[in-house]
Amino acid sequence: MQYTDILRFARDAATAYPLRTLLSVLAMAIGVASVVLLTALGDGARRYVVGQFSSLGSNLVIVLPGRSATGGFNPANGITTTPRDLTVDDAAALLRAPAVQRVAPLAVGTSEISAGGRVREVVAAGSTASFMAIRNFQLAQGRFLPEDDWRSSAPVAVIGMTIRNDIFGNQPAVGQLIRLGDRRVRVIGVLKSTGQGVGMNTDELVIVPVALAQALFNSNTLFRIMIQARGREQIEAAKAQATAIIKARHGGEEDVTVITQDAVLATFDKLLGALTAAVAGIAAISLLVAGVLVMNVMLVAVTQRKAEIGLIKALGARGSTIRQIFLTEAAMLSLAGAVTGYLLGQLGALILRQLFPVFPAYAPGWAVAAALMTALVTGLLFGILPARRAAQLDPVDALMRH
């Protein structure tokens, strides 16, 4: 029997029983669609988090005050001396490290902003000109903080888009004076809107020179020191050098924590990748169930078409031909189900992306390939038993039934 004939024969046999065919295709489709959709969700979450972390800036090393052991809370920490604060001088010292390209001190506090009779509370961040390069900020209007002496507290501010809209409406903001706490500062720039990010929401941020911020909060400590390493391979070196410098400056005590963005990213990446795989595994169970259903449907088909099998045996069909016919039919059902499920899953992911544009719900290629392969393999595997049963049918018995 020629392959084209086997295909046509199996196709006609499948379409001759539309309900039975539809149900098994549907079962397979649901299995594949759920793998595609669930992995799209899982991988979307992973991409979202990774994307958010990446938007913090590249080759980032962050210095936090206080020693935090990675092993969780250690009671020994409680009885050591209070850690020394991070200062602007600490930050400036880090510029000496060869692996460090840029350093930006960061002081954060809440303050009140008012202009034209409108008042609102804001998060004020004190930093320097390099903050923009390190954090990949984009400006919508005006310019960023001037390249000044870090001790200069020029009365200027760069504001986030939401604040700009809240305070100025559709009036121009750049060049206007606003009141920030007890200071009068001039708006020199507006940040481009980025939406909700990990950590600070830059749309609701007011950035002022670090000296101004410290004066505003009446404190000389820093919240963080942001460091940009000279390259990806310099991140570890920058981390080590920063630690060494701060340690030397703090009387030999290592009372800061230096984290790299890569480490955080890798952890989240691994965590959410594992989650996606787990979800895919759970969804794959439905594929197994679909495979069992295809087997059931094919077994029913063998019983239903007993006379036909007997007949084609009488007409000279070999056992292998009959096996091929039934295996082909099972493969067709699985393939149709897999393709339908793939399309359904992608459609679902598309709808998801339309509903939540910030959420990159794309099914990863490996999951799609695995789902399609599993569908086909289970379909074929579970098709073997019915096909064997058909081939072993006694033609006399099969023909007598009629």
């Binding site: 001759a16 045996k313 009488a314 007409l315 000279g316 069909a317 070999r318 056992g319 023909l399 009629h402």
Partner: protein, 235 residues
């Protein structure tokens, strides 16, 4: 020329504790081109004999030579090839595939044998003409009359030009006139040289054959041959 030679053929069915001898030491020789009717009461073994002759069933003992070749020792695949090319079946209940058209049903043996599509189409066209089914080529079995269905079945059974045509109660599901028509068709094929073996309950139909084999309890009770001309007058 001898087409079929059965020697000491036995077929035993095991039904629970008891053994049923459906065929008990059958010796039979049928020449090529013969027209044979196998008659006998139900359970006499005539259907079992037909299944054995058609290689649908295996004898428990004995040998079966078809066209001089011992077919009892062939592998299942080799037997399938013999069925495909040398033997045609006509059944009482036609056994057409319901989802296939008349033309597709006729082409089925050629399709199973891997005959190229072009050859298939040409031979199916010829067969449809020969059996008066030109207008019915694209009709499914449920759109055909009983006579037409059996004509499709006969066209299918003979499309591979077999040496042996086996018919199991070919008129059993047909009215008298249609049955007559089908019998004439089979006899015409026999006249062209095809060996025809008919299993029937119908004495009138059996009487038309050149040779009648009467079966009883798995044995050949009588085996009578007459000249074809005498059988025609007796109808």
């Amino acid at each position: 020329m001898t087409l079929i030679a059965l020697a000491a053929i036995e077929r035993v069915f095991h039904l629970g504790e008891t053994d049923v001898h459906a065929l008990a030491r059958i010796d039979l020789t049928i020449a090529a081109g013969e027209y044979v009717a196998v008659v006998g009461p139900s359970g006499s073994g005539k259907s079992t004999l037909l299944n054995l002759l058609g290689l649908l069933d295996q004898p428990t003992a004995g040998t079966y030579h078809l066209e001089g070749r011992d077919v009892t020792t062939l592998s299942p695949d080799e037997q399938a090839a013999v069925r495909s090319r040398r033997i045609g079946f006509v059944f009482q209940s036609f056994h057409l595939v319901p989802r296939l058209t008349a033309a597709e049903n006729i082409a089925l043996p050629m399709m199973l044998d891997g005959v190229p599509v072009v050859v298939r189409e040409q031979r199916v066209r010829q067969a449809l003409r020969d059996f008066g089914l030109d207008q019915r080529a694209n009709h499914r079995p449920d759109e055909l009359s009983g006579g037409q269905r059996q004509r499709v079945a006969i066209a299918r059974a003979t499309i591979m030009q077999p040496a042996l045509l086996l018919a199991d109660e070919p008129t059993g599901n047909l009215d008298r006139a249609t049955g007559e028509e089908v019998v004439h068709l089979l006899e015409a094929l026999n006249a062209q040289g095809m060996t025809l073996i008919v299993v029937t309950h119908d004495a009138a139909l059996a009487a038309r054959a050149g040779r009648q084999i009467m079966m009883e309890d798995g044995r050949v009770k009588s085996d009578v041959s007459h000249a074809a001309s005498t059988t025609l007058t007796s109808v």
